[in-house]
Amino acid sequence: MSLQNFISEAISPWMKNEGPDADIVLSSRVRLARNLNNTPFPLAASKENLEAVIKLAEEKFANRTHRKFGNLELLKMEDMKQNEKRVLVEKHLISPNLSDESKAGAALLSEDESLSIMINEEDHIRIQVLLSGFQLDQSLKYANEIDDWMEEKADFAFDEKRGYLTSCPTNVGTGLRASVMMHLPALVITRQMNRILPAINQLGLVVRGIYGEGSEALGNLFQISNQITLGKSEDDIVEDLRSVVIQLIQQERAARESLLQESKLQIEDRVYRSYGILSYSRNMESKEATQRLSDVRLGIDLGLIDNVSGNILNELMILTQPGFLQQYAGEILSPEQRDQRRAALIRERLKLEKDK
């Protein structure tokens, strides 16, 4: 398969649309946790219980045409190969937990992959809407529509006082987790991030690296999400996050501006070095790739590099993960082989840009 075809098939269709403020906010995500009333939560449920939940999803929600998301396809974890599941994890469509831990897990996916409904993860149902750029309100609106649509046919566990009942007490109430993935290189380079992070935490929001809890912020990518799910309305939770994100966007823009004014040469040198290394290296660990891609993306956004398309960071961040490399190679690879393949894939991808 040619690289171009592989990429166009591999990348989720939702990623190809450039959302608002996409130079800083890569994606917006809203997740709603729901459980069925009369079935123990997945942790305490028997395999028969869980299979009944999948059956319900299959009969009532799979292959039904939803007016916004179209047809939903049901994928059962047990029917999938290990690497197929891994690719879905790398696309953020399912969690590692669903892929590897669930006794009987499944996922309902929309054709454009902006909607994914995990079945029997920690909760029976987890609705996730993923949109490109800064679109938190829109994500919440769609997630609510799907929630209403499912609630017509399934009895959700809901309590007047506690709200939607979830397996983990950190999700009870709204079951809502809203998050954005932000690229904040200028705030990191100007050493402002260390000052900003504690302030964000004080507002009841959590900042993580790209690979979730406890991970460091590789490639200057930060995931920011709400912590509190109980006591506030969905709109307020999203609004609180949104207002902080707006602040961060402004600060990042200002920091980029001052970098250009005060240290243009150093920045130019940095982004072109990384561009050169990505264009010619033969061996590339994922950590270095992430950092170099962040530099190149910054160079594009600052107008220093003008012959490379902006979504290359999002795209290659996904495509250079182990599952995708193995899918492209058509075989299981050792870590050393992966580093070689990663370098080759990045080189080829950048060459496509030059040939344009």
Partner: protein, 176 residues
């Protein structure tokens, strides 16, 4: 915060262990800390908490060996999860656990959700309606009880009819 070991006493020892990059938080009381012995750092040192709890609770000061577990523990009738298990894994087993463990939940939720323990968000459309009807029926039943006690039988009959029609509407919806 209650001790995560015995669920009886206030946790007075809070510490984080990091093993191979995996973080685990511990919140335990002095008694359990002593029982656990060496693997918990600082547990042998005499603390101000010990002094205080000794003053506050006579039984407690009798010493670790004589403190007994409670005779009956909260246990969910639906899924069988005990409060102890819930505290250990940090997950509820089913929707009914929320009811069973309810007396202990407010402080937990308040700690996690910045002082909130009551839902302030969306109410599901379909079940939400049923919930309102259920609540109405409960209220009418109470009134019926009062009416009967006060020997207002005409009023009671009216209430009874109201209850029946509401119950029928729920029943019809279930079947329909």
């Amino acid at each position: 915060m209650l001790c995560q070991e015995c669920q009886q006493r206030q946790a007075t020892l809070h510490f984080t262990k990091i093993i191979n990059g995996k973080k685990t938080e511990f919140h335990i009381c002095d008694v359990c800390a002593k029982e656990k012995g060496e693997y918990i750092p600082g547990s042998n040192s005499f603390s101000i908490h010990q002094l205080l709890s000794g003053l506050l609770d006579v039984n407690f000061s009798a010493g670790a060996g004589e403190v007994k577990k409670p005779p009956q523990e909260l246990k969910c009738k639906n899924c069988g999860m005990t409060y102890q298990q819930f505290a250990e894994i940090g997950r509820f087993g089913c929707a009914d656990c929320y009811e069973t463990f309810n007396p202990k939940l407010d402080p937990i939720f308040k700690r996690i959700h910045s002082g909130n323990a009551v839902h302030g968000g969306k109410i599901p459309k379909r079940i939400g309606k049923d919930l309102q009807v259920h609540r109405q029926i409960e209220q009418l039943k109470q009134k019926l009880q009062e009416a009967v006690t006060n020997e207002e039988f005409e009023h009671a009959a009216e209430l009874r009819d109201n209850i029946r029609s509401l119950e029928k509407s729920l029943q019809d919806k279930k079947e329909g």
